[in-house]
């Protein structure tokens, strides 16, 4: 649960599955500007970001981890392109539905039979925690990306092209 930034080049991209709203990756390997490497396993990216996530893409990558997801929520490229997309919106809705549906079930059981269903109670807690954490991650990733507005993405190493605002 948090955000981080990678300045560098995407060296290796292994796609697991492409869906209509997001793409999941088995592995993303970044070569950082300081020469080190950073690997992200089991990542996800929203559909606005996925087309840019290709081997050789250079820029500033904004990464997040949340309750059940981790991946790339933003990119700033040397040509000035800035793309943001949080891929957890669906999960947030699912957690909300799970939480509310099970809360209704728990209340119904208490009202009719007087006993507390353990599974329903557990899923209510899971839904509440999942919704809270995914919503928090969504707000944090947006803030993280917006606060870095105006950052100069470094040019591709070896090129003479200046970074664009």
């Amino acid at each position: 649960m948090g955000t981080s930034i990678v300045d560098g080049t995407l060296e290796e991209v292994t796609v697991r599955r492409t869906m209509s709203k997001f793409t999941t990756y088995k592995q993303l390997i970044f070569k950082l500007d300081d020469g080190s490497t950073r690997t992200i396993n089991n990542a996800i990216a929203e559909r606005a970001i996925a087309p840019v996530l290709a081997a050789g893409t250079h820029g500033r990558f904004y990464l997040f981890t949340s309750f059940d997801l981790k991946g790339v929520h933003g990119i700033r490229l040397p040509d000035g392109q800035a793309i943001y997309g949080f891929p957890g919106s669906n999960n947030k809705k699912i957690f909300l539905i799970v939480g509310l549906a099970n809360l209704a079930w728990v209340l119904f059981r208490i009202a009719t039979t007087g006993d507390l269903p353990l599974l329903g109670t557990g899923l209510t807690i899971l839904g509440a925690v999942g919704y809270f954490l995914t919503d928090k991650a969504q707000r944090e990733t947006k803030q993280h990306f917006d606060e870095d507005n105006g950052h100069l993405a470094t040019p591709v190493p070896g090129s003479n092209s200046p970074a664009v605002h």
Binding site: M1, G2, S36, T37, I125, L126, V129
Partner: protein
């Protein structure tokens, strides 16, 4: 305690868990519960410290804070897989703080979690079956499941002991290296 429980159960034979069962077994069962609570507190304290340590190394991109590393054990459904993820990440970040996701995780961590989950399910099922009114003929099955649970508890405990020992050793080496690196860059007094 699980070993003693298993020995008592095997010595007594069928019926060890019923009203006329082994008094020794029941005593061990109580001690096993107390040990689980005390051991759980000690283990969760270790989880907090180990997770805090990897954050202190400056590792970025970790999915869990020290507080949530403990909380995952108490969130229903999430406690089936997120404590495993936390343990894997803590191991990886301890072994390789910078590019931690590239670090290999020993299979032992998977075996520990598998044993722990099976043990939990066996205990829960045995507890559920141990109701003569609802399941009059399931007494023997409940006893077998109790034994299975004890076996997997033993496996999980032994695996965890090895994991804690090895991970603590890795973190000690990491801390020594960090300390030496800090001393190397600190200005020398004349």
């Amino acid at each position: 305690m699980a070993v003693f429980a298993l020995i008592f159960a095997l010595l007594h034979g069928p019926g060890f868990d019923d009203e006329n069962g082994s008094a020794g077994y029941l005593s061990v069962l109580l001690l096993q519960f107390v040990t689980l609570i005390v051991g759980g507190i000690v283990f969760l304290r270790w989880v907090y410290i180990a997770t805090a340590n990897v954050h202190a190394y400056g590792t970025v991109g970790l999915s869990t804070t020290p507080g949530w590393a403990i909380a995952w054990y108490f969130i229903p459904v999430a406690n089936l897989f997120l404590p495993l993820r936390t343990m894997r990440e803590t191991w990886q970040a301890s072994a390789e703080p910078r590019d931690w996701e590239a670090a290999r995780v020993p299979a032992l961590i998977g075996w520990w979690w598998f044993s722990w989950i099976i043990s939990g399910f066996a205990t829960a099922t045995a507890f559920h079956l141990d109701d003569p009114e609802k399941f009059p003929d399931a007494g023997r099955a409940a006893e077998i499941l109790t034994n299975v649970s004890d076996l997997f508890t033993i496996a999980a405990s032994l695996s965890l002991a090895v994991i804690v020992r090895r991970l603590t050793a890795i973190q000690k080496v990491r801390e020594r290296d960090l300390l030496q690196a800090r001393q190397a860059v600190a200005p020398q007094s004349i």
